[in-house]
């Protein structure tokens, strides 16, 4: 991305509930877990992540999106790997 493009990025109104593309891989922070599956919020869109246990909470993980419902803004996905830490944990 050129410097000029960086200045032009974001002059838009982004939805509270962004759509997810089935089959894509996205990196998100997991906010909570029930032990076997975790939940991530992308805005107000909810993504249930299979395989995201307590060790992934507040970690950035790569998720393969397996389903997404536009009307309820909820989706499911599979954990691929942990890719990063929270910026406030160091």
């Amino acid at each position: 991305m050129s410097i000029f493009d960086k200045y032009l990025t974001g002059w838009t109104f982004r939805a509270n509930r962004p759509s997810l593309e089935v089959g894509s891989e996205i990196d998100v922070f997991i906010s909570e877990t029930n032990g076997s599956a975790g939940r991530a919020y992308i805005g107000d869109t909810e993504l249930l992540v299979e395989g995201a246990g307590p060790e992934t909470v507040e970690k950035q993980v790569r998720v393969r999106v397996t389903s997404f419902d536009e009307t309820t803004a909820t989706g499911e996905g599979d954990l691929v790997e942990v890719v990063g830490e929270s910026s406030y944990s160091g």
Binding site: I3, K6, Y7, T9, G10, W11, T12, F13, R14, A15, N16, P18, L20, I26, D27, V28, F29, S31, E32, T33, N34, A37, G38, R39, A40, Y41, I42, G43, D44, E46, L48, P54, V57, E58, Q60, T74, S86, S87, Y88, S89
Partner: protein, 517 residues
């Protein structure tokens, strides 16, 4: 946030922050007592009784710290050590260094006739009182964006543009507001600004990307602020400066003083070249001294003068030196000149700020800070819109309380990160929300570092100019509504949170690797 029934239970855990190290009778909230006491004292002293005395504010924070100690549980040495911990933070010292260097620089330019040059230029170009605040806003914004320190810019512009504008008939309160607004613009946008750097580092974002992505918020606020200063400049009257005094000053105003535009350019140029702010302003000081001497704008004795008593052993033989004067009056003994006068105005302020940062540390270590933020995370950040509004609100509140905005930003950075990451907002968006409020709130209230710095510089003006009367000094509380860039920047972020303007999720774009400073 909706509940998905039998799906994952809420086990949102928080990293261990180490817990409060100072406990208080009455709970964690009592650790805010010293700061709260000081704010009440500052409002009563400066707003209700109109006493703009920095020394009085020092007494206020001292009393707050002493009384607060009686609420501390256990050994009071922890309380005392926490004050020291706060006072020795680099951010506090950084602000003091910026004030002192900028104070010397501004005084050199002032004594070198720069104000006269500005008046000459405005008079020649036909810039009237109405347009002067708007133009000052733009120039202060450019200057601050170049040097990166809004505190330094506030001092320089209050020392230089403020008297020029007042003399030309601009409204002093509006003019002070315009200077602070320009400082906010630059503090927010400059890549070399300490708040820009802290916002990027705490949100794991690259500084270049942060600056580029925040341009949209800053420029929208700035365009509106500029229009505001144009309109208000036409509507608000200035103070009547005696016609004779005005005429004399105009006659004495000389274009040669404008040579110091190069001194300012030297500061901006070296800062943009990536040099440390101390080095950048030092170069400005060197260039300004050279111009003052070469063009005869000020002599060596105007820059630094030793006023020695008659009985000093080496004073007599060296009396011919241009920087030495033997004085008969014992009260006249001392060191004077631009450099000394430039520093002197900020000595009390430096002590005050160290004590306030110490009191802020009590609030952080005592847990009042955590109480506020934990409550807001649990109760307010219930969806992405509310989360962004919470980020704006808490960042604004903490920055409104803690005098040095960089210190406030360091303290609240992790919480902004925590709330933002929960909704997968990317580092740019988080950094922009954080720094927008940090820059804005650092220059609005009477106890804000930027306002205190500008006010301290302003208090020296009656001694610098015969025509500048004490009544022309702006009471800090009066300027609050006129810091247009600050209020508009906060408003822009509130609208951005409500509408999603500029919002970016991690799935849209990830910030690049941050260059840790």
């Amino acid at each position: 946030m909706s509940d998905a029934g039998d799906e994952p239970t809420d086990q949102f855990t928080q990293p261990d922050s180490g817990g409060p190290t100072v406990e208080f009778y009455g709970g964690r909230g009592m650790s805010a007592f010293p700061i709260a006491f000081f704010i009440v004292w500052a409002i009563v002293q400066t707003a209700l009784w109109r006493i703009g005395d920095t020394g009085g504010l020092i007494v206020g924070i001292l009393v707050g710290l002493i009384v607060g100690m009686f609420f501390a549980r256990g050994d009071w040495k922890h309380y005392a050590n926490t004050i020291f911990e706060g006072m020795t933070q680099p951010v506090a010292v950084t602000a003091i260094v910026a004030w002192i260097w900028a104070g010397m620089f501004a005084q050199l330019l002032q004594d070198g006739g720069f104000v006269g040059g500005l008046v000459w230029l405005a008079d020649t170009a036909g810039v009237g009182a109405a347009l002067f605040p708007a133009i000052t806003f733009v120039l202060a914004a450019v200057f601050t964006t170049g040097i990166g320190t809004g505190y330094g810019a506030s001092i320089a512009f209050v020392g230089l543009f403020f008297p020029a504008g007042v003399l030309l008939g601009a409204n002093p309160v509006l003019l002070f507001g315009a200077i602070l607004s320009g400082a906010i613009f630059g503090d927010n946008l400059a890549p070399v600004s300490d708040t820009t750097i802290v916002s990027a580092v705490t949100q794991d974002a690259d500084i270049g990307g942060v600056v580029a992505s925040r341009f949209k918020y800053v420029i929208i606020a700035a365009v509106l602020a500029f229009l505001g200063y144009v309109v208000a400049g036409g509507a608000m009257d200035g103070i009547e400066v005696g016609a004779q005094a005005q005429e004399i000053f105009l006659e004495e105003s000389d274009a040669i003083g404008l040579v110091h535009v190069i001194s300012m350019a030297a500061v901006i140029g070296t800062a943009i070249a990536g040099r440390h702010i101390v080095e950048a302003i030092s170069w400005g000081i060197v260039v300004a001294v050279a111009f003052n001497l070469v063009f005869g704008l000020a002599g060596p004795g105007d820059i630094v003068m030793f006023n020695a008593p008659q009985d000093a052993p080496l004073a007599g033989p060296l009396e011919s030196l241009p920087i030495l004067t033997i004085v008969e009056d014992p009260d006249a003994v001392g060191v004077g000149g631009s450099l000394m006068n430039g520093v002197a105005g900020f000595l009390e302020l430096s002590i005050l700020v160290l004590l306030i940062i110490g009191a802020a540390q009590i609030m952080i270590r005592g847990g009042a800070f955590d109480v506020l933020l934990e409550w807001s995370i649990e109760n307010l950040a219930t969806n992405v819109r509310n989360a962004e509004l919470t980020m704006v609100g808490t960042a604004a509140l903490i920055n409104a309380i803690i005098t040095i905005n960089t210190a406030a930003e360091v303290a609240i950075g992790p919480y902004i990160s925590k709330i933002g990451e929960r909704f997968n907002l990317n580092g740019y968006r988080r950094a922009n929300i954080l720094d927008g409020q940090t820059a804005a709130m650092g220059y609005i209230f009477p106890w804000s570092g930027g306002v205190l710095a500008g006010y301290s510089a302003m208090q020296q003006l009656p001694g610098d100019y015969d025509w500048f009367e004490q009544s022309m000094v702006v009471t800090p509380i009066d300027v609050v509504p006129y810091v247009f860039q600050g209020w508009l920047l906060v408003a822009v972020f509130i609208v951005a949170a409500l509408t999603g303007f500029g919002r970016e999720y991690l799935i849209d774009r990830e910030s690049e690797e941050v260059a840790r400073v």
